[in-house]
Subunit: 238 residues, 2 copies
């Protein structure tokens, strides 16, 4: 039995093993359960052992972020910047759906990791290759903001909540408590008007994917229009 325990934790610790365990823990139990102590316990090791492989918790988070960013599909070259960018952002979104804690983690760091910089750099590259001026590409990157990493940017977001408190529990359909609905009639109205293409299923929650693509296409279409007009910041509209 002692030997069993020994065999179980025979696999030596390594930065990589720590990062994978940390990502798994955050996926399953939520980012708020990711403490150095919990993580060490999952790895069958004493908390301080982790510090031989990661400098501190912030660096651990950076490493986890890089793991996530590494899962995003690379840009597939193509003639059309719009499809390239759209496709990759949707891939990023899929990755974030697997790691709902990631947006919060990324936002809470105050400098980009090299992996994120590389991702952003390649996105700018796609715009430039599509004929965008550096000027326009710059503003476009700002306008996309965190959406370019697949963030949904919802104010109150079931996925975010999952990233905090553990596995996703499906939102109760169109969940506005009765008293609330009465005080905020416009919200109640659009909550029940969550139609989408399936009109029969009325009053269900929102189709996150639809909302995401709606917003993404709104931006991309607007960007395409500016690009076609030869927009520059010096002679800007209005």
């Amino acid at each position: 039995m002692v030997e069993q325990a020994d065999t179980l934790r025979r696999t030596p610790l390594s930065r990589d093993r720590i990062l994978r365990a940390a990502v798994a823990l955050a996926n399953e139990a939520g980012i708020e359960s990711l403490s150095m102590r919990n993580l060490a316990q999952d790895l069958g090791v004493v908390p301080m052992a982790l510090y031989k492989h990661v400098a501190n918790k912030d660096e651990l988070l950076d490493g986890m972020i890089d793991v996530v960013v590494g899962e995003i599909d690379p840009l597939v070259p193509g003639a059309d910047w719009k499809h390239m960018v759209r496709r990759r952002i949707l891939s990023a979104r899929q990755v974030l759906r697997r790691h709902p804690w990631a947006p919060l983690a990324i936002e809470s760091r105050n400098m980009a990791t090299p992996a994120i910089l590389a991702y952003l750099d390649s996105m700018v590259g796609a715009f430039r290759a599509g004929g965008f001026s550096a000027d326009l590409a710059h503003h476009v990157m700002h306008a996309m903001g965190s959406r370019i990493l697949g963030f949904s940017q919802e104010l109150f977001d079931a996925a975010r909540r999952a990233g905090r408190s553990g596995t996703t529990v499906p939102d109760s359909p169109a969940a506005l408590p009765p008293g609330v609905a009465a005080r905020f009639p416009h919200l109640a109205e659009i909550a029940t008007a969550a139609s989408h293409d399936d009109e029969s299923v009325v009053g269900q929650g929102c189709d996150d994917q639809f909302e995401f693509e709606f917003a993404l296409d709104l931006l991309l279409d607007g960007i395409e229009r500016l690009h076609q007009q030869g927009w520059t910041s010096s002679r800007r509209p209005r």
Copy 2:
């Protein structure tokens, strides 16, 4: 001297006084310095005294958020939904610039406060009054996302950083460390191409206000176009 101390803290505690002190502390020292202990010390009181007026730290944050939301200008009625919405969002942005900790605080709560719900409700009302279908208004609210509260949604944001670590220190101009610039040529290019209308000041950081309005107008223009086209989710483009 005992009397002096007594006179100083003669003002009795109250929920309102606590909230104002908390907002002030977060503004000055950053949200990470806002602990019940620090706040109590600022108020000349023992930590547990706060709990007679707020249930716990989460409720304190909710209260602080409501203070911030309360500072946003109300909707000024007008014929044009676009100007109404635009104006109010820019007001929200100004408020957030005074309280850089607020976005993080809002995102970290997992349900909207009544004040935020009221704000969102009135925004929906503006769209509806402008002739939007409930359907379109719904998707538009999702597409605006946190931008509707004035969030800039930058991935790595000087204001965010300030909200974390205290008072804003102006960003060093176009701050890309030399090694980084070499590895990410496209980022380097658009960083130096931060032109704006003042071409003489080259390589300065970004004009946050410009970037925010650029993104906001991109969205609003796209929304206006959909509205004019009588967009509905049942017969959606593509």
